[in-house]
């Protein structure tokens, strides 16, 4: 039994994604774990062992050493201590793990951490703090737009993205914008109210 894979590896790591892929991309063929499709001459295969990655999360650069198969969601939750995004359905059906990827909302459970290298990731933790809530977070709190709160980080991030694109959405546009997120406690109408109120305040 091997030693535990390194986690929370914050050592400085200064290579570009491309150089990095070249240098660490060995050994996959020998393991037989992957059957790569024809690929560009400069591409490489990672893993299966843990590899260091440099991620840009909430404006800070974080290095994390994970197996290439580790999703962005698990890299955030299990290796970087950012547990705001939740692991709920594990297949992009519920939006509980929504984060912003270069400003676009995505399901972090459907993306490998390695594919996030070189992109800006924003999680719910990066939008505001308990002491300084973001406008969306403040209206969610005021309107009681949650019960158990487990879906809330996903809805907060999705609502932030929606308002970024459409600062004054109609009710139908709010519903469409949040259709990828599920809430089992049943707080949708409160969430719509919170989003509408945020828009109203922005004027």
């Amino acid at each position: 039994m091997s030693k535990r894979p390194p986690t929370n590896d914050e050592a400085p790591f200064n290579v570009s994604r491309r150089t990095f892929l070249k240098t660490v991309g060995v050994g996959a063929a020998a393991t037989g774990l992957v059957t790569p499709a024809p690929r560009a001459a400069d591409a490489a295969v990672l893993g299966p062992d843990a590899v260091p990655l440099r991620l840009s999360v909430n404006g800070a650069t974080r290095t994390v050493t994970v197996e290439p198969r580790v999703t962005l969601l698990r890299a955030l939750r299990n290796h970087l201590g950012m547990t705001g995004a939740k692991e709920v359905c594990e297949r992009g059906a519920c939006g509980g793990c929504t984060v912003l990827f270069d400003g676009e909302p995505i399901c972090a459970c459907l993306m490998l951490a390695v594919d996030a290298v070189g992109h800006e990731i924003t999680t719910v933790e990066g939008l505001g703090t308990p002491e300084k809530l973001s406008p969306v977070q403040a209206t969610f709190a005021e309107c009681d737009a949650f019960q158990c709160g487990f879906c809330t980080p996903g809805f907060v991030v999705a609502s932030t993205a929606l308002l970024g694109k459409n600062p004054h959405p109609s009710l139908e546009e709010i519903k469409a914008g949040l259709a990828g997120n599920l809430c089992r406690c049943g707080t949708y109408s409160r969430i719509f109210e919170a989003v509408a109120k945020t828009a109203e305040r922005k004027g």
């Binding site: 698990r74 950012m82 547990t83 594990e90 297949r91 719910v124 308990p130 259709a179 089992r184």
Partner: protein
């Protein structure tokens, strides 16, 4: 007004019921209890709208749920589950899993038989979540498959394979057994006033001018909580600490102490925040798995903390569900609408578990009907066991009963609401009908069902439901006032998302003249004073009166410190807005903080037990729901447009959170009525939709206008006059929507969920389908 009897009980008159039609009730409170709050009480914090204390933590992703707890050197565990629905376990080979680098321990079941696809077989603990998943896949299990049955009606036939052998079935003693069918079940014991079988059913039907008989059916509904069941277990010597997503920390503690032969004091269970339960988290692990005990064993074996969270597929198959049901309902009434007989015969789909009783509404809602016969049966299938879900059995039972009531009203040529009024003795519910009908615009419904022209047909329906005034008495709350004037509240019960943490703070704030946000409330930990398991809408009714008593004690102690400063007697003082003042002359005041600074020590700690429950108007809680739908008869798609509910939860401590729960019940009901359908493959016996994309939940795009109307029932039997309310509001939702669909189309759908294929088939069968 108040007077004491020889036993020390105090008699009070309390004014309860809807403000539109209040009732005066004489109650006898236990010695030391406070005068109950009622309709005449003037509140400063209670009944005002307060955001949750933990709101900032939840909206910023800082709130730590069980699934967010990661401890140093923690291992990840993963279960292996049965892939066949019935058979013998011949061999479990864990050798390949154990050889995998990073695997630290394995566990295998002692069970010899498999009864459902999803049963616990083995578990592994490894250094990462991914390696644990790999190792679980390497466990090889050899089975000897047996014949199985997954369909309710097939399980009821004499030739069906037996899910349980003789003497092995979970069933009440003395209940008759016939193959996979248990019942009729003996009368239930829970709830007190469930009415039940009475009179002479045949006499009742002989007296009837009109009768209606039909069979209603609905699918198994899974809880589909977003935070899956799970634990993080950590041993320190013979002390066990468990973080778990549960509805009952003390229940989990008792079970783990017993499993490991420990003194309960050596087990600590913590649920700071939890991501949804709805009845599925009323077990030490889950109804269909022993994962918590397995995780504790793996942790003890490895000497490391172990985290075991179920994945979504496991959550859908082994953590319980609300049973599907087949209900034959027969009603008789006189020409004027007086009910003469109710015959309710149900078979509920228990999987391998004891099912929920569906006869509650038929047995107790129309209390003046003299002739009632209930016949409830459990039917076993090779599927995951059912468990409590949001008023167990009652949404199903009310679906059967209240659709039948609607059909009989139609047959009698009566307005369905008039028909209810004619037969309902509940002192509050008659008022609810008026309030709800006004808010919905009941007069807009189709006089002739299906009369709207065009392909999109709208209709309005209603139904009502009931639940019970349930409570636990053995609970306590501690309130601590610190020398700096800060206040903390401690209570062991957990907050499921209902908002109990905030409700307790609101009550303390009311007594102490502070803002709820100024109270720090700590809940969900067995180190705190005992709280009950949260099920049956009991937590508010149980915990709030103890919080009021503890806060009141603290108030008296602080009043004793303030009185000399203001040169009055303590009982001349009042508390509001952070100040303590002379009630007769509010200009004479000191701040709460100044008074607290006079305490001799560092902290005043006040612990209070809940006092004995006292009289209520009636043992059941009422809720009425109205629904408006639009049915597209060309596509078969039903949209709920609006729901209006009217409900008595006593005095709503925090209407902001109470209304939220109310809306949530309307949504979960609409979701069951239209979308949710656990589907088992009849050839292989496994669930084909153990996920959140093909097990459909109502989503944002399906949302309707939700109108929750709370009335101050004050029918609670405790000093706060508050009860829980998650369940009663849920009970009538399914039937209200089904009745609205009938009003829209003139075609009755008697099976849920009302998916487009069923809608189109029903329209076609009635000759009302659209022309191709």
């Amino acid at each position: 007004m108040a007077q004491d009897d020889s036993a020390g009980n105090t008699t009070f008159q309390v004014k309860v019921g809807p403000a539109e039609s209040p009732v005066s009730l004489e109650v006898h409170t236990a010695p030391g209890d406070l005068k109950p709050w009622d309709l005449d009480t003037r509140f400063r914090a209670v009944k005002k709208r307060h955001p949750r204390l933990e709101a900032a933590q939840k909206v910023t992703g800082r709130a730590k749920y069980t699934s967010d707890v990661n401890l140093p050197d923690m291992l990840w565990a993963k279960m292996v589950r049965a892939t066949i629905p019935a058979g013998k376990i011949v061999r479990i080979d864990t050798a390949r899993a154990e050889r995998l680098s990073g695997v630290k321990a394995v566990w295998t079941t002692d069970a010899k038989l498999v009864r459902f696809a999803g049963q616990d077989i083995a578990a592994v603990a490894a250094v990462s979540q991914e390696i644990a998943e790999d190792a679980a896949r390497l466990v090889e299990v050899q089975y000897e498959a047996n014949a199985f049955v997954t369909d309710l009606e097939e399980a009821m036939t004499p030739k069906a394979p037996l899910v349980f052998g003789e003497g092995q079935a979970p069933a009440p003693p003395n209940a008759p057994r016939n193959g996979n069918v248990i019942g009729p079940l003996p009368p239930p014991t829970l709830g007190g006033a469930r009415g039940g079988t009475r009179g002479d059913i045949e006499k009742g039907f002989a007296e009837a001018d009109t009768a209606h008989e039909a069979t209603y059916r609905l699918a198994v509904h899974t809880h589909a909580v977003l935070e899956t069941h799970g634990v993080v277990a950590q041993w320190e010597g013979d002390h066990l600490t468990v973080y778990t997503s549960t509805q009952g920390v003390f229940m989990v503690r008792a079970a783990l102490a017993e499993a490991f032969g420990l003194d309960r004091k050596k087990v600590r269970v913590i649920t700071e925040h939890m991501g949804g339960g709805f009845g599925s988290k009323l077990y030490p692990s889950a109804v269909g798995s022993a994962f918590a005990i397995v995780a504790c064993r793996l942790a003890r074996q490895t000497g490391a903390p172990v985290k075991l969270m179920l994945d979504r597929q496991e959550e859908q198959v082994c953590t319980g569900n609300a049973p599907g049901a087949l209900m034959a309902v027969r009603l008789g009434a006189k020409r004027d609408g007086t009910l003469t007989a109710i015959h309710f015969r149900a078979h509920t789909e228990g999987g391998i578990g004891q099912s929920a009783r569906t006869g509650g509404p038929a047995g107790s809602m129309y209390a003046q009907c003299p002739n009632v016969k209930l016949e409830e049966h459990d039917v076993f299938t090779n599927a995951g066991p059912t468990c409590a879900l949001r008023a167990p059995g009652h949404p199903q039972g009310a679906f059967g009963l209240e659709c039948a009531m609607d059909e009989l009203a139609h047959r009698l040529g009566m307005d369905p609401l008039e028909f209810r009024r004619k037969n309902d003795t509940h002192p509050f519910r008659k008022t609810y009908y008026d309030i709800g009908a006004r808010a919905m615009g009941w007069e807009r419904r189709n006089r002739v069902p299906g009369q709207t022209a065009g392909p999109k047909k709208r209709g309005i329906g209603m139904a009502h439901g009931n639940w019970y005034v349930l409570f636990r008495e053995a609970v306590s709350v501690e309130v601590r006032v610190h020398k700096d004037g800060s206040v903390e509240l401690f209570h062991g019960a957990q907050d499921l998302g209902t908002g109990i943490r905030t409700a307790l703070a609101v009550i303390a704030a009311e007594e102490l003249g502070l803002k709820p946000a100024e109270i720090t409330a700590h809940v969900g930990d067995t180190q705190y004073p005992p709280g009950g398991t949260s099920g049956g809408s009991t937590t508010t009714n149980s915990s709030c009166p103890a919080a009021r008593l503890a806060a009141h004690q603290a108030r008296m102690r602080i009043a004793g410190l303030a009185a000399p400063l203001l040169k009055v007697k303590p009982d001349e003082l009042d508390f509001a807005e952070g100040k303590i003042f002379v009630a007769a002359d509010p200009s004479r005041a000191v701040s709460f903080r100044e008074a607290a600074q006079k305490m001799p020590g560092e902290v005043i700690a006040c612990l209070a037990d809940r006092k004995k429950q006292f009289e209520v108007v009636r043992q059941d809680l009422a809720a009425t729901q109205f629904a408006e739908v639009e049915v597209d008869v060309e596509t078969g798609v039903i949209r709920v447009l609006k729901m209006v509910g009217v409900h008595n939860c006593g005095i709503p401590i925090n209407p902001l959170t109470a209304e939220n729960q109310f809306i949530g019940a309307q949504i979960q009901g609409a979701s069951w009525a239209l979308f949710e359908h656990r589907t088992l493959d009849q050839n292989v016996g496994a669930m084909v939709n153990p996920n959140l994309e093909s097990y459909k939940l109502l989503g944002a795009a399906d949302m309707f206008e939700a109108v929750p109307i709370l009335t101050d029932g004050a029918n609670a039997g405790n000093n706060t006059s508050a009860t829980g309310m998650a369940e009663p509001v849920f009970v009538p939702t399914l039937a209200a929507i089904a009745n609205a669909v009938f009003n829209a189309t003139g075609v009755r759908l008697r099976e849920l969920p009302m998916t487009p294929d069923r809608v189109l088939a029903a329209l076609a069968a009635a000759g009302k389908g659209s022309k191709p």
